[in-house]
Amino acid sequence: MESFFARYRDLIVLLALLLAQVIGLAVQVHHTAAGTNTLDSPDGSGVRLIRLWANATVSPPERLIHAVKLGAGSLWLDYLDLRHVRQRNQDLQKTIDRLRLEQAALLEDARQGQRLQALVDFQQKYIYTTVAAQAIGSSGSDQSRVFYIDKGANYKLARDMAVITPDGIVGKIRDVFPNSAQVLAINDQTSGAGVILETTRTRGILRGNALGQPQIVGILSDNRIQPGEKVLTAGGDLIFPRGLPVGVVEKVIRDPERENFIDVIVKPAAHLDRLDEVLVITATEPRFSTEQQQDLTTSQTLMGAEAAAIKEQKKASAIMAERLPGLTDPNAPAATQSSTPATGQPGQTPPTPAVIPEQGQPKLLHPQHPDRFTPNTAAEIPTDASPAPAQDTSPDAAPNVKPKPEQANPQRPEPRRNP
């Protein structure tokens, strides 16, 4: 037995290592209900520990290289690469003199430009909270389009936060370490971002292909999709805010695996291959400055005071309308206004003006009982249920009639309340 192990020691070590890794792989992959295999997400504690070690090992040298690169660049530009500087200085001095003359002429234009610029800045001001970070490394594999940034959990970064540049979206945070974070770029095969085409409003999922190009997959053939069309985030993935630029359509190809489907290759707006600084969106709640918050508060206060004033005015109008007699609603139904002319004869309906008053003009109401104060109504018969005596309805006799006690009230003009 001992000679067997000694003889095949190399093979045994090989098989042991392979077996251990295969078992480790089997632990990380699980079968889904859809019948496909997928990797565990997020990683298990053991896997995460290995990643943490690897990151802790590689990140410090990467930071060092990054710092050396910046320092060397600065050293070269500021101290070493100074050839022809004297001649360049003279040229620049001449340029400055010329520009000073032009400055006066352009001053007015510049002021106008500043005003417009301020307007555009206000319009384009980004209201989400972001954290700036520098890209310091990558996975080193073209099958894994991830890179590392120099900010991590200490800056309150968390998994699935969107990573963007002013040009467009970059990816999302996949893993967070204390002082760094791993970002999954949008051109990775396992990434996914909900996008929408600006013109055709076609929605789809953006992922990377084998060549590291972002592509929108699973779209039915559509002749309207043309190269050059802008692609924006759709906002449905709960990672990227809606409306961020993603890129433009580069070309449309037929899906090799599914008939009637196309893949839309997208040229990303952000330079994914050469990222230096990125922004991580740490909160999608709108962020307002102190002045904006004060303006909002003032606006809400004014709106409340104005609403209260309007309500008070309406209330006063209603009270006045109830107390003012003789005014009627010009929009009252025509059925209540008889067109029969005044005759003064018994048994006839009370007269009303022959001409309907114009819209908006107040009209004198006809009194419910004849009186001597209202013109042309002295002999009219009231229309209510208590008919007046026949002998009192004569126009000539009316002034001489002595009112009976029970008729005292009807003879007084009573105010009619508006409905």
């Binding site: 190399d10 090989l14 040298p61």
Partner: protein, 173 residues
């Protein structure tokens, strides 16, 4: 199985290096592999950890060291990616074993042989990667041959330059 027999090995000069070289060179390969693609973009057609694995495996008296080094380098690469840990590990374990086994039998000082060896082992690594990813794990992987071909060419060219430089770090009696 006779080719795996210890008696089949040729007499070769055993290479030894300072411990610092064993630690720093693989680490530098991992760091550069993580950093250089940021500079070169999509044209980073090389795999420095693989080249270093092949170099150290070729100079070892037994395949065990090359196998272990390949496993460690592969697992490190996997840990820096977002894929399952072990995919590159399995691929580079096999590559390390094959490189060490071949290194005990042929003259690996010749530049042409080094170039061809790196080219073939790079292709083997790519094939193992795809095999583990697609067949063993059953995961979807979009993959192109010419990328692996370019990577193999890149690895070969780097090896031609890097191997003589690393040879200078040997401890000579």
């Amino acid at each position: 199985m006779s080719v795996l027999d210890a008696n089949f090995r040729r007499e070769l000069e055993i290479r030894r290096y300072p411990m610092l070289v064993y630690a720093l060179v693989p680490l530098a390969a991992l760091v550069l592999q993580a950093w250089l693609p940021r500079v070169l973009g999509r044209y980073a057609w090389f795999d420095l950890p693989l080249v270093v694995t092949v170099y150290f495996a070729l100079g070892q008296p037994t395949p065990i060291q090359g196998t272990v080094l390949g496993a460690v380098m592969g697992i490190f690469e996997d840990a820096l990616s977002h894929h399952a840990i072990g995919i590159n590990g399995v691929a580079k374990t096999v590559v390390g074993f094959v490189a060490a086994s071949v290194g005990t039998r042929i003259d690996v000082e010749n530049h042409t042989i080094r170039l061809i060896l790196n080219f073939l082992l790079s292709l083997l690594s790519g094939a193992m990667y795809v095999f583990v990813y697609r067949i063993l794990l059953g995961l979807e992987l979009d993959w192109t041959w010419f990328t692996e071909l370019f990577k193999a060419i890149g690895n070969s060219l780097i090896a031609v330059v890097l191997f003589p430089a690393l040879d200078r770090l040997q401890i000579r009696d």
